[in-house]
């Protein structure tokens, strides 16, 4: 705090007279005292409205019910928007249903038709299996194995238990010339069931232990 601040405080506390303050600090204090005087004078010049008339007017406003401001104004376009959205949704559902009917596919729930990451990497093409189509699943549970077994090409037979990853019922049908003895190798060579995809007669990989 500067000396001027201290003396201004002393002046405000009436411990220092205005003359003493001005004599001590000269123009620096003069400017502040002048602003102080102007502010007090201007504040006093403000006209105060009649208290009684103002109170009467205020009482009238107090007695009046508070205006209710609706949070949202009703918009006519909202109903139209909802109707259009509903119509579009219904049309989409109807189209999807009719398309599924013509394909001969069973009606499945939307949740089971959503492709998953597992769908893309499993099922119809296991480690040694050839890729094959992935029909829609009808149950979330089922066989996780792939390769041999009944084929799902052309649709899942009723009562079949598809795999959880979508591959259980999607085993590829073996090539008619295939002699892989049901290992899922679709090649025309005879690998004696080892799953070796190389040319016929080639030795199986070391990993098979042969």
């Amino acid at each position: 705090m500067s000396e001027l601040d201290r003396d201004l405080g002393a002046w405000a506390r009436e411990e220092l007279s205005r003359e003493q303050l001005l004599a001590e600090h000269g123009t620096a204090a003069t400017a502040l005292v002048a602003v102080h005087d102007r502010l007090t004078g201007a504040a006093a010049a403000v006209a105060v409205p009649s208290a009684e008339a103002g109170w009467a007017a205020l009482l009238a406003r107090i007695d009046a019910p508070a205006p209710v401001v609706p949070l949202r104004r009703p918009r006519p376009s909202r109903a139209l928007s909802i109707a259009v959205a509903a119509a579009l949704a219904l049309a989409g559902i109807a189209f999807a249903a009719s398309r599924g009917w013509h394909d001969g596919s069973p009606v499945v729930s939307p949740a089971t038709t959503v492709p998953t990451v597992a769908d893309q990497f499993s099922g119809s093409h296991g480690p040694r299996g050839a890729p094959g189509p992935t029909p829609p699943r009808t149950s979330p549970s089922g066989d996780r194995h792939s390769g041999s077994g009944p084929s799902a090409r052309g649709g899942t037979p009723p009562g079949a238990a598809p795999g959880i990853d979508g591959g259980g019922s999607a085993k590829p049908r073996d090539d008619p010339r295939d002699r892989d003895q049901g290992t899922g190798n679709d090649g025309s060579h005879n690998d004696h069931g080892s799953g070796n995809n190389g040319p016929e007669g080639s030795p199986p990989p070391e990993s098979h232990g042969r």
């Binding site: 405080g9 102007r38 409205p49 205020l58």
Partner: protein
């Protein structure tokens, strides 16, 4: 009741002593006001009427300096909001006048926005409801250049008529800090006024 008399009538007679907090230790006046507020919170309109008469001059000065013109609707709006929001007032040592000051600031800001959304505030007095004295216009323009805290100190002390202790309670600081802010604000005002002279 000294507080009421001081706030209602005496800014013109504010001498230096009245600005440092002397005269602010009026336990009877503060206690009387607390009782009025409690009664008003219970729905006593007469008690609120007394509060209205007590604080009307200070609120009128605030509105005049904030809006640049007399505006009885704005004054009325301040007290109407006070009446409707009275239940939210808690006596935590902050003067009732400081609570009113907070409402007045919001009403003034709303009013300025409504009046001149697209025009600078300096033009408002020329388009105001009533002509404004040149002195008030000049001081008002200078006060608008102050930082928020300094402006609050000036308004609470010179327009509302609060003491340093009351301003300190309202602003959550010490009377000494209020004193320093006041003189700093006066220096800034002096500089602005000198530039504009």
């Amino acid at each position: 009741m000294e507080v009421s008399a001081f706030r209602g009538n005496a800014p013109a007679n504010i001498s230096a002593p009245s600005l440092d907090g002397k005269g602010g230790d009026e336990p009877d006046g503060r206690e009387h006001e607390r009782a009025l507020v409690r009664r008003a919170q219970d729905g006593d309109r007469d008690a609120f009427g007394e509060l209205y008469r007590t604080h009307l001059p200070a609120v009128s000065r605030l509105v005049r300096f904030r809006l640049g013109a007399e505006d009885e609707d704005a004054v009325s709006e301040i007290f109407l909001r006070a009446w409707r929001g009275l239940q939210s007032y808690r006596d935590t040592g902050v003067p009732f006048a400081a609570w009113l000051y907070g409402i007045a600031r919001h009403v003034a800001i709303d009013s300025v926005r409504r009046r001149g959304r697209d025009e600078p505030q300096d033009e408002l007095p020329e388009r105001g409801v009533e002509p404004m004295t040149a002195e008030i216009l000049t001081l008002r323009g200078a006060i608008e250049h102050l930082p928020t805290e300094q402006r609050q100190v000036i308004e609470l002390k010179y327009l509302v008529g609060m003491t340093n202790e009351e301003v300190a309670a309202a602003m959550g600081t010490t009377p000494g800090a209020v004193n320093a802010k006041q003189w700093r604000a006066l220096k800034a005002l002096a500089d602005v006024l000198e530039e504009r002279a």
